[in-house]
Symmetry: C3
Subunit: 182 residues, 3 copies
């Protein structure tokens, strides 16, 4: 594999989907959104794990450190229920937490449902990877990505990742002038 | 006592009120709001403690673990002053923090006073109990409950508590369709 | 020095500025804003340090504990890049974090750029000092101070600092009635 292959990780966290009792809808929804939004081509690396903190942590570490994904998105496991542990797993593998992502995703989701405040979604940096927790519900995944993705390419620049470009018909990435490459 | 008794805990955190130098206005204000908002009947369990972290922690633990309150609300002790330790006590007894509650309470309070950003109110889950920090001032208590309570009954469902119902003239609880019991 | 001298600390966190490769624009921008906003006179204490957590911590501790600054503002080092460690240093020296400051600064900055969610700015209390992280860019410093400063004088009151007064042509400090001194 060429060193310039850009990889994005997709982690579905769901007891039922991991046991095959339930079709994984979140993983494909995240990937479809990214495929539409990015003009930069990427290889998608999928993982499907149970709501077990150690399993989610292992998947995240593998996607960041071994696969070298510049971006890893997760779906599921961010609520207040006893089995919801995705934010705990994310926080434990990240060296920096970016509170603005969770704030902004909740603010946008609040326009649709008052239970948005129950979401514990976070985002953080592990080495050269940005990890973002997304909701479990496919329509809410798109709402959240629409809200935060304009900041993602510049964030990936800042952690020394690849230069991601978007289809401005879908989403417009923002970079300060000095960071824009022609 | 019947196993189906629903209990809600009310904790007033105040040095002066706990010494009897000051009437506890926050505790009754929280209870009155809940009595108007809920059509589900509940037993109110009150505690009045000084601004000492260990005392607040003990009260919260007792209300959650021994009294079995599905919801515990606190008033007072959430500012930046040296004696304000309610959020620290809450965080230390919770296994999950729900950042959206604090964000939303501050966002709503900001419409009234710019000093809303000084509030450190949080909410979190301890076992099968939801704990929410509220301000000390009775009028601000109502503003905060109006802002976050629509999400509370579904949150209590998710932590396997009782099915709480509200008087829609006061507040409308939101649940996803699959969670609504006829 | 008289005991009543009021001091405010200004910390520029920048590898390049600390090596003299780059002029410190953030430090003077913060000071100019404060000089315009406050009618209370103060002594400015400046520090210029590299993006090293231990250096930032030392500067903050010195300004709070030895210089006795009631307010310390920092500029730089709050992004997601590997060398950005100002929030970590701030958190480690504070005994209380005031999440509302970061939320409000990001909310205001979001009106200008979607990458505002990448900012990890926090504020917190160390003893009798309020520490606030500000952005690196001078124009963004003013946006953030405009957003949060109305709450600063009352916060300083609550931690037993001096009574700060503002020029209401620039910014209006808010205090509850009982806290206003004629």
């Amino acid at each position: 594999m060429s060193e310039t292959t850009i990889k994005i990780g997709f982690v579905t966290v769901s007891d039922r989907a991991s046991r095959g009792e339930y079709e994984d809808l979140g993983g494909p929804a995240m990937r479809e959104w990214l495929e539409k939004a990015l003009t930069t081509s990427f290889e998608a690396v999928h993982r499907l794990v149970a709501d077990e903190q150690v399993e989610v942590e292992s998947a995240l570490i593998e996607l960041c450190d071994e696969e070298g994904c510049c971006l890893v998105v997760t779906t599921g496991g961010t609520g207040p229920a006893p089995r919801d542990i995705t934010p705990e797993a994310t926080e434990s593998v990240c060296n920096k937490i970016l509170d603005g992502f969770g704030e902004q995703m909740r603010a946008v989701s609040l326009q649709f449902v008052p239970t948005a405040i129950l979401s514990r979604q976070i985002a953080g940096i592990r080495g050269r990877s940005l990890i973002i927790n997304l909701p479990g519900k496919p329509s809410a995944i798109a709402d959240c990505l629409n809200a935060v993705f304009p900041a993602v390419p510049y964030c990936v620049d800042l952690i020394e990742g690849p230069y991601l470009e978007t289809d401005t018909e879908v989403i417009t990435a923002f970079r300060p002038k000095h960071a824009v490459r022609k």
